[in-house]
């Protein structure tokens, strides 16, 4: 059993593995946030709450309708995306002309409402979500037992992140989205329905959050507080990566998960603070974030 700076290699690799799983969630969530901010200049504080709603949809589908994990992976994010459409059309669109801080405040209020409603009906202790049978069990990797489900999470996140990046950067739809938010009037003049693009972008961004929620359900308890626990870290990730950069948030999300894992081994108490320390440093040295462009 070799030691790495006083810590057995087993423990180190184990924590890194877990860190990667956490990082996958950070990546998907910050991806959604980055899409929304990069395209719409809205700081979507409701992102955490919508992630929670996605998890709850999965739970409700299972417990009230008997619909399992695989179907929920599709249905729940769509449900959350629909909520996103509703929010954008009824509230956010009136704020487009105003200072962007109002968007932040509105979504903050929405987050409180959603969290409050779910807390009212479901308490805050959390409900368990059963793993689908195919994922039960562990891989005995020697240095740790890794539950099968967590490998799936890592794989799925990387696929989703790559797919989103490809969609935004490499397809025509993505080009319309990017153009439409950079110069709405011009793009509108070309006959492209810009308001629709904007609504779809927001819906897509929160849909990603909903998807993360479904994936998180079997691991973390499905609790009304799960969104507020994670949202602050995700914001930090987005700021570090560069607030409009898709690639930035993916890379930073995964990297941060790993760094957190490392910190847990050597300096456990600081593991929750390390992201903010990094954020402060990055903002001092590279204000636009690691991959961002100053707006």
């Amino acid at each position: 059993m070799t030691d790495f700076f006083g810590v057995p290699i087993q423990a180190l690799l184990g924590q890194l593995m877990l860190g990667l799983v956490n990082g996958s969630f950070y990546a998907i969530l910050s991806l959604g946030l980055a899409v929304i901010f990069g395209m719409l200049n809205i700081v979507n504080f409701a992102h955490g709450a919508l992630y929670m709603v996605g998890a709850f949809f999965a739970w409700m589908l299972l417990n009230y309708a008997g619909i399992g994990y695989w179907a929920s992976l599709v249905i729940a994010p769509l449900g959350v995306a629909l909520i996103g459409v509703l929010i954008e059309k009824t509230m956010l669109q009136w704020l487009r002309q105003l200072d962007h801080l109002y968007g932040l405040l509105l979504t903050f209020g929405l987050a409180l409402i959603m969290e409050g409603i779910f807390r009212e009906f479901y308490g805050s202790s959390g409900n368990p979500y059963e793993l689908p049978a195919v994922f039960k069990g562990v891989f005995d990797l020697g240095f740790m037992m890794l539950p099968k489900y967590r490998i799936w999470v890592i794989v799925m996140s990387i696929v989703v992140c790559f797919a989103t990046w490809y969609l935004i950067e490499k397809t025509r739809l993505g080009a319309y989205l990017r153009a439409g938010t950079e110069n709405p009037q011009l793009v509108q003049a070309f006959g492209i329905n810009v308001p629709l693009m904007i609504t779809l972008t927001y819906a897509f961004g929160v849909g990603l959050a909903g998807l993360a929620g479904v994936m998180a359900a079997p691991i973390y308890q499905v609790s009304p507080l799960m969104g507020s626990n994670i949202i602050i870290v995700v914001f930090a990730v987005v700021v570090i990566g560069g607030m409009g950069s898709i690639l930035g948030s993916i890379v930073t999300g995964l990297a941060l998960g790993l760094i957190e894992g490392l910190t847990k081994v050597y300096f456990a108490e600081a593991s929750t603070t390390v992201v903010f320390v990094i954020m402060a440093i990055v903002l001092l040295l590279r204000p636009a974030g690691l991959f961002g462009r100053e707006k």
Partner: protein, 410 residues
């Protein structure tokens, strides 16, 4: 004219004398502040510990009032309740208003440990009675004791570690690693169990602290696994314990190490399911299936709450009933008089036999060692425990002589 005047004066005087006499007789029979006995149930209604106390505690208190007769000295007994959401500042706010403005005479339940410490200190300041059932920190009868005001009714970390800790070490689990909830209760439990382990020849390899209401225990359990200790002690409670055990099972920790749930109630076992919880050793101060009396009471509770009560609910019932009986015997709801009666009278009800309230606030009663049944052994829902031993109160709880309560030493 004069005679009628004399007559009226005489009759007036007679009426006055009679009223005063009757009035004092009434007062002697029952002097109640605000003409009512008000009991406040302060608990966590919807959060991490809602199943521990929560609405069940309110029901238990109401059952006690009902069994007492609903009235005292002809006046009503009122039960109010509030949700402190596990925040000491909300708990303090509510309790302060209860004492200052709403005329509440006694508060009961008061989980968690941080809340209990705040409430007990407040009770001492305002000279009211506070009964803690759902919190376990031993500081309530030691460093932060409030003799004359604060009562610690159900169990504490010392009793828990004396019963469970000792049993496991004797069974061969002599190296421990703790997973601790980062607040007063967790620290108390970790320290007291660690002391018991070491006193019985074991070692403590280390500990990791987690925030209250953690949902993902994977990284903490990984550290527990790498410590190589034979026993992983869970110095947490409620939802945290349930989640730790689930995660331990998910990560295969139980293949090579043993889990010790240091505080677990039957409602936690219900949440876990027998598949995951079987074989676990735990201690409780009461169980619904102990005897006919307990079964009867549990049935009445279940009719209202649709689930069986745990030892916390039973202790809320018992302590509230004991309080009301003491008010009756004392003839008043004045704190000192009632406390005196509560300490003089032993507790004999479906919760405890020959339980007694000590000067430091500790209610001493028997504790039971249980082991969780396997699914095949269980005959149905809530049939979860095998009784492995009864430990007398004097042996489970800290002795009065060893108490670090400064106010007692004077």
């Amino acid at each position: 004219m004069k005679s009628t005047f004399k007559f009226s004066v005489l009759s007036l005087a007679a009426t006055a004398a009679l009223t005063v006499h009757l009035g004092t007789a009434q007062a002697q029979q029952g002097k109640l502040s605000g003409d009512v006995v008000k009991i406040g149930v302060l608990t966590d209604m919807s959060g991490l510990y809602a199943d521990y106390g929560g609405p069940g505690a309110v029901t238990a208190a109401r059952m006690a009032v009902q069994d007492f007769g609903g009235k005292i000295f002809g006046k009503n007994i009122e039960v109010v309740n509030a949700d402190h959401q596990n925040k000491p500042d909300i708990a303090k706010n509510i309790t302060q208003q209860w004492f200052d403005r709403d005329g509440v005479d006694m508060t009961v339940e008061n989980l968690n440990s941080a809340v209990a410490l705040t409430v007990q200190a407040l009770g001492k300041e305002k000279n009211k009675i506070t009964i803690v059932t759902g919190a376990a920190t031993a500081r309530l009868t030691n460093e932060d004791c409030a003799p004359g005001n604060g009562i610690h009714y159900l169990m504490d970390t010392i009793a828990l570690s004396n019963v469970v800790g000792k049993a496991i070490v004797k069974d061969g689990g002599d190296s421990w690693f703790f997973l601790t909830a980062d607040y007063a209760f967790g620290h108390s439990l970790e320290k007291d169990t660690g002391d018991v382990v070491k006193a019985n020849g074991g070692t403590v390899r280390g500990a990791v602290r987690h925030p209250l209401a953690t949902s993902d225990f994977s990284s903490f359990l990984l550290q527990a696994q790498s410590s190589g200790a034979k026993v992983v002690g869970l110095a947490n409670a409620g939802g945290d314990t349930v989640n730790s055990i689930k995660a331990a099972s998910e990560f295969g920790l139980t293949k090579k190490q043993n889990l010790a749930a240091l505080l677990m109630l039957v409602t936690d076992v219900h949440a876990l399911g027998l598949n995951t919880a079987q074989g676990l050793y735990l201690t409780e101060g009461w169980y619904w299936d102990l005897n006919n009396e307990t079964r009867q009471w549990a049935q009445r509770y279940e009719a209202v709450m649709k689930k069986k009560p745990n030892s916390n609910h039973a202790s809320v019932y018992s302590s509230t009933l004991h309080y009301l009986k003491a008010v009756q015997a004392a003839g008043t709801d004045d704190t000192a008089a009632v406390m005196k009666k509560m300490q003089e009278t032993p507790i004999n009800d479906m919760f405890a036999k020959n339980g007694r309230l000590r000067p430091d606030g500790r209610m001493v009663h028997d504790m039971y060692l249980f082991q969780v049944k396997s699914p095949s052994e269980s005959k149905g829902a809530w049939d979860y425990y095998n009784l492995k031993g009864t430990i007398k109160g004097e042996d489970a709880f800290q002795s009065l002589a060893a108490s670090r309560c400064a106010a007692l030493k004077k």
